[in-house]
Amino acid sequence: MIEHSYLIVLLPLLSALTIFFFGRSLPLKGAVLGICTLGITLIHSLGIFSILLQNPSYITEISIPWFRFGIHQTEFGFLIDGLSALMLVVVTSVSFLVHVYSLGYMKDDPRFKRYYAYLSFFTFAMLLLVVANNFLQMFIGWELVGLASYLLIGFWFEKTSASNAGRKAFITTKVGDIGFFLGILSLFSLLGTLNFAQVQGRIEEGLISANTAGIIALLLFCGAMGKSAQVPLHVWLPDAMEGPTPVSALIHAATMVAAGVYMVARSYFLFQHGPFSLEIIAWVGMLTAFLAATMALVATDIKRVLAFSTVSQLGYMILSMGVGGRAEGMFHLTTHAFFKALLFLGAGSVIHATHTNNIEEMGGLSKKMKLTFIAFTSAWLAISGIWPFAGFFSKDGILEATLNSNNSFLFWCATFVAFLTAFYMTRLYLLVFITEPRDKEIYNHAHESPKSMTIPLLVLALLSLVAGFLLEHSVPLLLSSQVLPPNVHASSAHTYPHWLVPAISSAAALLGIFLSYLIYWLKAVSAEKIASTFSWPYRLLLKKYNFDEFYIYCIIKPADWLAQKLALFDYHIFDQLGVDGIGFLTVKLSQIHDWFDQNIIDNLVDIWGKLSLLGSSILRKFQTGLVQNYILFILFGFGLLMVWQLKINFIELLR
């Protein structure tokens, strides 16, 4: 099974190409092919997963050398160990469910075939990233995933907001990818290889200093910041909600955005080797989690709330990575994939029914969409971290990790964020399903979604419930296959009773739920009153902390201005001055030549004629006709002749 793991990557690619070129003639325009392919890959991945569960240290690596010069070598290969097996399952399962869901959601879309082609292409790229055994292949997958994201966000490109969002996503992640690529280049030039195992080996030999390793780790983290929407590169994710909801579920909740976290997990040894890199990413993750959670408090678009929630949870994962909880972070990634995908698909179901994204127009949908309601409830409880749902276990793990780090501030912040998460998710849940409908039209029109949509919802709901139990111990087991140096941040001397953290997290979650219940259901405190009391923070949150405005005014507008100025410069200096200028100079030069020829040369010719006339007009005066004049001239000449002949000088004249 494992020897043929390349099939996992290959099959979606083939399916994508087939659907793209021949989809018109396939049943259901290629959707069936896509679903079947994904089904096969899912079964394959589950098989690999089970093999590795039994034998976590069974690492397989297949590689084909690609190019080499000197000691530098790159390859093309597959690495199947516990981490990649876990990711395989996550990716293929969610992708499969989204494929099924899209049957119903995108049924009437005119570009149905292309959608499925893109979906399969994305799955191929993500799988390529996941099974890569070297940084270069991971980067290739990274970029391809970005491409697929761009294509899918801007799927409805007639809407300018959608195409803009696609561009924004691509460019923002590209900014992060610059750092990522620099990190890869540094590794390649310093160590001569990009293979994970070899890099780890060479770092442990001490080929590069600790500071260098730390800097390279941070460079790689830049890519994670872009892809996983950490602050300050998080701005693309809320706008990415312009895409179809299944896309949001697959790419921007479960898989692509998790790629950053996965990359950190893969190159964790690098982060550990640097003196401060883990701390930095912990703080970045913390900041992201906090800011995103606050922004979700005031959002009114159902998908946007979920987007902020995604950013916040990603921050949680990164925070976990930063404080040493690698396994906990991956565990949260897995559970998050399930319940976030469920949340999005449920939101998609709601949107499909009500034809609006605005939660302020919804309400009371629990009575109209029962299956969706049940699934959504499961997801809500999971994300809030209520036992026995999956989120409780994973969040718990993260909080324990932060507690074990040297920084208790992080722990209390993380707890606060958990509180906020519960609060805003409850707010969403109440406003959409429980509270009285605010728009009668929409309420009357709402209906349950077709089976193709509800079945994946229910599957995911089930997973949200049981994944916690199933994977609580499997994940660390799987991840232990990678031999890592012991955690730098040693556990603090304190030992806590093992029920302390669960208690605190549950308390925070329940507090959040209760508060939200007070405000939005019981209306004990009016939400509007709170908003008007804290009007300044409220507006700041609504504006998403003005990140977009900052980028526009500080980066985009100057770049535009510079580009315009350079264009003007090019036009005026090079085109007008240079090219036209040379033409102008040539014309002028030929004009000078012409003038020269006409005036000077022609005048040279004329001068001779004029000289003759002048001479003759002078000589004419001698012809007077008077003999006496002639005698005078003769005498004059005679005198001169005599003077010359006799050589008279004036001394002689003085006798």
């Binding site: 006496q628 005078l632 005498l635 005599m642 006799l646 008279i648």
Partner: protein, 189 residues
Amino acid sequence: MGKDDSFHRAFDFNKHETNLNFNMEIVFYLTALLLLFSSVMVVTQKSVFTSALYLAVALSMVAALFVLLNADFLAAVQILLYVGGILVLLAFAVMLSSVEQAKRETQVNEQWLPSLMISFGILLVLLVSLKRSSFLEAEIQKNHFYPTTEKIGHLLLGELALPFEVVSLVLLASLVGAILFSKKEKIDG
């Protein structure tokens, strides 16, 4: 020697000593001065008649100079021909044609200044060349004065007989021409 000797015995040139009681230089200078003065008057007088009279004076002075130069016959010829003939002729011509000229009009034309300058120049040239020349002074000490008429007669009818005859032809031609021109008939032209 024979013919000559008999002739010359009538008058012994060698023995005849001139007894000059006058100061030659004063006479010369006076005569020269008067000559120059009167010739300058000739060329500058406004009235033609006056200049004719001055010309008479000048010619007479020339005759005096001839006497000083032992040319007594020539002096007589000068007076007779020049003053008595040519000058009278000039006077007649002047008087015949002086009706139209106004006495106030200037007689020198517009180029008098350059001609004056050039004349002076030529004069300088001549004087310089004279100064450079060295003529033999051997005979100057002796003042040989003797009657010349006989000798000139011998000369004219002897060695210069041919020019004598030719000159008479010339005179004939000039006479004929003068008559021709003086006829009262219009000249075609």
